[in-house]
């Protein structure tokens, strides 16, 4: 896994969560800029997944490969799934969904890094 990419994803994700929480409390629905933000976040996550996939294809795999791959699949699917689900809702609860997803994502990345590089 690319460390700086993980850091960037976590920062962008938390920023998105903050932004969407503000939208929720201001009673705004999800708008196109939110979607663009989620798109950027998703591209970063895909980039990390591809980079990790290439490293793994080179033979450098974590001990618990099955667990790691299922987490990796989850982080790739989470942003688009929640973006669509949130965008369908035309009230303040749309951004609330995105905020939830963007708070979960950094936690999932902490777990991924633990699996990738277990502290002995």
């Amino acid at each position: 896994m690319v460390d700086w990419l993980t850091m960037t994803i976590q920062m962008v994700s938390l920023a998105m969560a903050g932004w969407c929480l503000v939208s929720t409390f201001r009673d705004r629905p999800m708008l196109v800029p939110h979607l663009v933000g989620m798109g950027i976040l998703w591209l970063l996550v895909i980039g990390q997944a591809v980079a990790t996939g290439i490293t793994m294809a080179g033979g450098d795999r974590p001990a618990e490969t099955a667990m790691f791959v299922s987490y990796l699949a989850t982080v790739v699917l989470l942003p688009p799934a929640c973006a669509v689900w949130g965008f369908m809702e035309r009230t303040k609860w749309g951004p609330a969904v995105i905020a939830f997803a963007c708070l979960i994502l950094p936690v999932l990345f902490v777990r991924l890094e633990q699996l990738w590089n277990p502290v002995v």
Binding site: S70, A81, E89, T91, W93, A96, V97, F100
Partner: protein, 141 residues
């Protein structure tokens, strides 16, 4: 926070706060099922009851998510039953893990009243039940 949903859409479980509930339930369904399946596959002998319970909890979350996400009276009943099962589950397993730790040597989502997941498993069914009953009352009134 005031509820801004229009009366016509408020009858639907999946709109408004329900939208967020479905998302949270979806993530928990995935987390519990994946965790349980993985544990079952790698070490069933170690703690069969705890691992089977994880899978069961995941299935209940999944049913609840689908029940909440679908419109209609039947799915509302499905969501109501699954949220009740969850509430009972988290309370019983939480109490059991506290007073009879030898029954559950390995953690599940419901151990310690969901303390490993920031107590979300304890709050979630309560929110779910509140939301379903609220919608039900709006529908009748």
């Amino acid at each position: 926070m005031s509820d801004t949903a229009a009366p016509t859409t408020a009858k639907d479980l999946r709109t408004g706060p329900g939208r967020l509930l479905v998302a949270v339930y979806g993530v928990f369904a995935l987390a519990a099922t994946a965790r349980g399946t993985y544990q079952l596959a790698t070490g069933f002998e170690e703690a069969p009851l705890a691992y089977l319970l994880s899978v069961f909890a995941g299935a209940v979350y999944l049913v609840a998510a689908v029940g909440l996400a679908r419109a209609g009276r039947t799915s509302r009943r499905v969501a109501l039953v699954s949220c009740t099962v969850e509430m009972v589950g988290v309370l019983v397993v939480g109490a059991a893990s506290l007073f009879l730790p030898e029954v559950f040597p390995e953690d599940t989502v419901w151990s310690g009243f969901g303390s490993g997941y920031f107590f979300v498993p304890l709050v979630l069914p309560a929110l779910g039940l509140w939301w379903i009953l609220r919608i039900h009352r709006l529908d009748q009134g």
